[in-house]
């Protein structure tokens, strides 16, 4: 089983047993580390200027899942975040809103209320985020709690321990169970690629999550270093591209953590454009999990329109 096309004809067989799933995932073509990193670096040299830059910055703003995931989060903090998500630049009505705000489940009702009437979605991290170290019923309760509170999107973490010890079916079944608990809320599956470490693992986790019905695959929690990187996202974009080729189903990608500058965000968009294709250049199919990125995008946006850099005091803190 070396080709994706021949393997995917038997998707249901692939997940029939732990052994079958293992055979399937280990039958995927390998990822050569040097080559993948070289390709990512090569795409990073694209020069995106003037009209292309303006397009990319506005698109990137619309793709931001504006995130706060701190123990110190309060209702006040979440409300200001929500305000920022709806009107990132209060001085410029042409500035688009972000895609979503991303919070812990207990903050969902506050976020939901603050965002009422806007198109900005509420995403909640769940399943014992960020470590995922809890029993399945607790993870499901965590998910159900967030969904009942009105979360539009659930960002779950996989059980990296199970994945790394080769218990793929367990990881698969957990994703299926969480998806059921989502009751229609969109499910993003976080791999914590900084813990999976190899690109082969990233590719396997991507296929595993897509087979289990993930709407989005996401790199990281933001709590582990390294978080999102260009080569990891490259491998995931190849996976969603190949998965659509094989099954006709489209899955979104969300790099999260460590993307702080417009220049980086643009590199990601170039990669989306040239690896997955322009169909993914859409907030429904590509997101950035970020907090500080938004302000840099806003500063660059202002620079493009006014020709001069403003400064951190000319964009709102949160």
């Amino acid at each position: 089983m070396t080709t994706t096309n021949s393997t995917v004809s038997s998707v249901s067989e692939a997940t029939a047993s732990d052994a079958a799933l293992r055979r399937f995932l280990h039958g995927l073509p390998g990822v050569d580390q040097v080559g993948a990193e070289q390709r990512a670096a090569g795409l990073g040299t694209r020069s995106i200027k003037t009209s292309a830059k303006a397009f990319a910055i506005d698109l990137a703003i619309q793709m931001v899942d504006l995130t706060t995931l701190e123990g110190s989060d309060t209702a006040g903090k979440v409300r200001t975040l929500a305000a920022k998500a709806m009107r990132p630049d209060p001085t410029d009505p042409t500035c688009p809103a972000t895609a979503a705000v991303c919070v812990y489940p207990d903050m969902v009702p506050i976020a939901k209320k603050a965002l009422k009437g806007s198109a900005v979605k509420v995403a909640a991290v769940a399943t014992a985020f960020p470590s995922g170290r809890a029993a399945l019923d607790i993870k499901l309760a965590d998910t159900a709690d967030a969904v009942e509170a009105g979360a539009d999107e659930i960002d779950m973490v996989i059980d990296r321990g199970a994945f790394l010890s080769g218990r793929y079916l367990e990881v698969f079944e957990e994703i299926v169970a969480v998806k059921e608990a989502c009751q229609g809320a969109h499910l993003k599956v976080i791999f914590e690629t900084g813990e999976l470490q190899t690109y082969d693992n990233v590719r396997r986790a991507s296929w595993l999550a897509m087979l289990a019905g993930a709407h989005f695959i996401k790199t990281s929690t933001g709590k582990v270093q390294p978080a999102a990187t260009l080569p990891v996202t490259l491998v995931m974009l190849e996976a969603v591209r190949d998965f659509r080729e094989a099954t006709g189903q489209m899955v979104g990608v969300k790099p999260a953590g460590g993307i702080r500058h417009s220049k980086d965000a643009i590199k990601y968009l170039v990669m989306v454009n040239e690896i997955a294709g322009e169909d993914w250049l859409d907030p429904d199919w590509f997101r950035f999990g970020a907090s500080t990125l938004l302000n840099d995008l806003l500063m660059q946006r202002k620079k493009l329109t006014t020709g001069a850099y403003s400064g951190p005091d000319y964009v709102t803190l949160d």
């Binding site: 994706t4 390998g30 990822v31 080559g35 070289q38 040299t45 020069s47 995106i48 200027k49 859409d282």
Partner: protein
């Protein structure tokens, strides 16, 4: 879900030409200064626009003789007497100046050659500087290179280089020659003389003693004058197999040392357990890098039949994202074909490929209306008996063949008069080692392609030439081989 996506059009991102100062005409660089040639002149043009860039002197036999005399004088009086450490200082200085003037070289090379600025900026010029740095380091350590305690230089080296990597080939020739204590007379290709002439300025800037490096421009006649000059001790040539054979005949019976780096028809072998996405990148890089004007280009793709469809589908999808056009645009992946003559040759062989029954495919791409252009092209259904599987096209044209077993792959890969390079794509280490030992090619890349490093020797088997350039091995052609003293 509704799809709101829209195309991400990259706005033009041209590199500015203002950094280069192209003079209306150039003389020859002999004995440390620019002098008028006594021969005719010719024009060098930009292959992407056909704009005339400058008038170039065509060195006559008398001019070549002057250059060789200057080189001999510099050799006898200065360079061969100088300590290795001192020679090294000059080479380090040249390397640093090239780094400082990197953008100037990159822009000029792109204009004169037609290759994308992305490549001159990220590959050609950095590798040139690296080559000078590398051989600068050898200059005072020649006694430890394995060629005797105190190896001696040969004298005057006559060097003739091609148009595909004008400055890089200059570096490959000049850096080891100078490090070993030789002086040189170098002729750049007639279509791409400008960076060599800018390099002459660098020699002046570095206070290199006059006559150590002489640059004579011209065409075949000038090259012949260098090669056949009786006071040249060493001939180094990179270019076509046809000219290489003529040079070998010309120097036969003389005591001149010769190295030839000639054509290739490299096999890029993709086994069924290859990292497919990276292999596709390697195939693209192997044949479309530098418009396929690469002697070690992976111009024959040998793909295992069991994954051929998948690899070809991915390759075609990837080729659709290649950006062909203005070489100075920083987003250009494929630039202009170097000359009308080369374009005609690529067209002719491609037509032969079709006539022989191979299936031709190119992605849709809008080519500029002026200049010399050829779209990235693949031929499928190619067999060993097709001319496009045997002859060097030296353009962005890939011939795709399939194989069933590793043994068959090696047999097909080796079934060529050439033997410059090869690529092996597999996740299985033992297969890589076995294939590398079986392939009759000077360079074997595994899970990568077209990677160059000054520390790594480069050269061919069979009609791809003889001698090695780069690395410790690259010193040997510039040192007397009469053993340890």
């Amino acid at each position: 879900m509704a799809n709101k996506s829209q195309p991400f059009e990259y706005a033009p991102a041209p590199e500015s030409r203002s950094i280069v100062d192209i003079k209306p005409s150039y003389g020859l660089f002999i004995n440390g200064e620019f002098v008028d040639g006594t021969g005719k002149s010719f024009k060098t043009i930009s292959p992407s626009t056909e704009e005339v860039l400058a008038e170039i002197s065509e060195a006559s036999d008398a001019d070549v003789d002057l250059a060789v005399k200057a080189a001999r004088r510099a050799y006898t009086r200065v360079w061969s007497k100088m300590s290795g450490a001192e020679r090294g200082k000059y080479l380090f200085r040249i390397a640093r100046i090239i780094q400082e003037r990197a953008r100037e070289f990159a822009v000029l090379e792109s204009i004169d050659n037609g290759k994308p600025i992305k490549e001159t900026r990220d590959v050609d010029v950095p590798t040139v500087a690296a080559h000078f740095f590398y051989y600068a380091g050898w200059a005072d350590k020649l006694g430890y290179a394995g060629y005797g305690d105190d190896p001696q230089p040969l004298g005057v080296a006559g060097q003739v280089i091609p148009w595909n990597f004008p400055l890089l080939m200059l570096a490959w020739k000049i850096a080891p020659a100078l490090a070993c204590g030789n002086t040189v007379v170098l002729k750049p290709a007639e279509t791409t003389p400008l960076t060599a002439l800018l390099f002459a300025e660098v020699c002046q800037q570095a206070d290199l003693p006059p006559g150590v490096v002489n640059i004579v421009t011209g065409a075949g006649g000038t090259g012949r004058a260098i090669v056949s000059h009786p006071d040249v001790n060493k001939v180094a040539f990179t270019g076509s197999t046809e000219v290489g054979k003529a040079i070998a005949r010309a120097v036969a019976g003389t005591d001149k040392r010769v190295t030839l780096e000639l054509g290739g028809k490299a096999a890029n072998i993709v086994f069924d357990d290859a990292p497919v996405d990276q292999a596709v990148e390697g195939i693209v890089n192997g044949i479309f890098f530098n418009q396929g004007h690469v002697c070690c280009a992976g111009s024959r793709l040998l793909v295992q039949e069991s994954i051929a469809d998948e690899v070809l589908a991915k390759l075609k999808r990837r080729m659709k994202t290649l950006r062909v056009g203005d070489p100075l645009d920083k987003n250009t992946d494929i630039g202009a074909i170097n000359s009308a003559e080369q374009l005609a040759k690529i067209r002719e062989l491609s037509e032969i490929g079709e006539a022989e029954g191979a299936e031709r495919w190119s992605p849709k791409c809008d080519l500029p209306s002026t200049g010399f252009w050829f779209p990235p092209t693949i031929f499928t259904g190619v067999s060993q008996a097709h001319r496009i599987a045997r002859e060097e096209i030296f353009g962005p044209v890939l011939s795709v063949l399939t194989f069933r077993t590793p043994k068959e792959a090696i047999e097909k890969a080796n079934n060529t008069p050439f033997g410059l390079s090869a690529g092996v794509w597999t996740e299985k280490g033992s297969l890589i080692l076995w294939a590398a030992s079986q392939l009759r090619a000077g360079v074997v890349w595994s899970n990568t392609f077209n990677r160059f490093d000054p520390a790594s020797p480069f050269g061919g088997y069979k009609e791809s030439g003889y001698g090695r350039e780069g690395g410790r091995h690259g010193l040997e052609p510039y040192l007397k081989n009469d053993g340890a003293r």
